[in-house]
């Protein structure tokens, strides 16, 4: 099964669920599904900044597996980090997300 994650809430979503559960499992090839994309809203976009330890690890996995990483464009502009993201990580809105995923559509979209 293929899934996409949307990180919409800002509690332990990135620092715990992503960094301590999903990401290590992806690195160990035992997450159980193919993650084809991750989309980040609000403060969760800070994980996509160059130099962020979790982001750098995520970026490495994405380059290896072809997983899409995308930040919400308005969220990134608002935080003035749109030009400070990891190399090749795009920003966009829903049309951009659907277009980017269209060649590798997930079976489930999971909002965290």
């Amino acid at each position: 099964m293929k899934v996409a994650y949307i990180f919409a809430t800002s509690r332990h979503t990135v620092s715990y669920v992503l960094a301590k559960m999903i990401l290590p499992q992806l690195e160990e090839n035992r997450h159980g599904v193919d993650v084809v994309g991750m989309f980040f809203f609000e403060d969760n976009n800070y994980v996509l900044m160059k130099g962020n330890p979790t982001g750098e690890r995520l970026h490495k996995v994405a380059k290896k597996t072809g997983m899409l990483l995308m930040g919400c464009d308005q969220c990134c502009y608002e935080r003035e980090i749109a030009d400070k993201l990891l190399e090749g990580v795009p920003i966009g809105c829903f049309p951009d997300l659907y277009k980017a995923l269209s060649g590798n559509m997930p079976d489930q979209v999971i909002t965290l």
Partner: protein, 136 residues
């Protein structure tokens, strides 16, 4: 010149996020009488501008564009750079002016500047035709 950085609080700033906030409201206003053609780009985004123009001066500008953050920000930037200028001075505005004014827009999104400026020029052309009866 006033500081436009985040340190200076609520002063209007020319950054994408603030331009979008101002442009979002303008995007919902009814167009002025002099209206340019609606242009569409390869991303299926559309843009049209309308002008309040008198005595060869662009008194005010409105636009109706697709809901894309970057496109609305570039369109609002055109308004702020070109309003109250003479039509010929406004026509000199280019996509490179927009791109250089907002350097944090990623490369993949900068094509919105081309759509916005072409739509604005279409409105200037419509204004010229309505005033002279001739194509520019």
């Amino acid at each position: 010149m006033a500081c436009e950085s985040a340190c200076c609080g609520n002063a209007p700033r020319r950054v994408v996020s603030d331009l979008f906030d101002r442009g979002y409201r303008r995007n919902r206003l009814a167009p002025f009488a002099v209206q340019g053609a609606t242009l569409r780009d390869a991303n299926d985004l559309t843009a049209s501008f309308s002008l309040d123009i008198a005595d060869d001066t662009v008194r005010d500008i409105r636009f109706q564009v697709s809901t894309c953050i970057t496109l609305i920000a570039y369109s609002e930037l055109i308004v702020e750079l070109a309003a109250a200028k003479g039509a010929r001075a406004a026509a000199v505005l280019s996509e490179s002016d927009l791109v250089s004014a907002l350097p944090d827009v990623p490369l993949l999104k900068r094509d919105r500047a081309v759509l916005a400026i072409n739509a604005f020029r279409a409105a200037l052309k419509a204004a010229f035709i309505s005033q002279t009866g001739e194509a520019a």
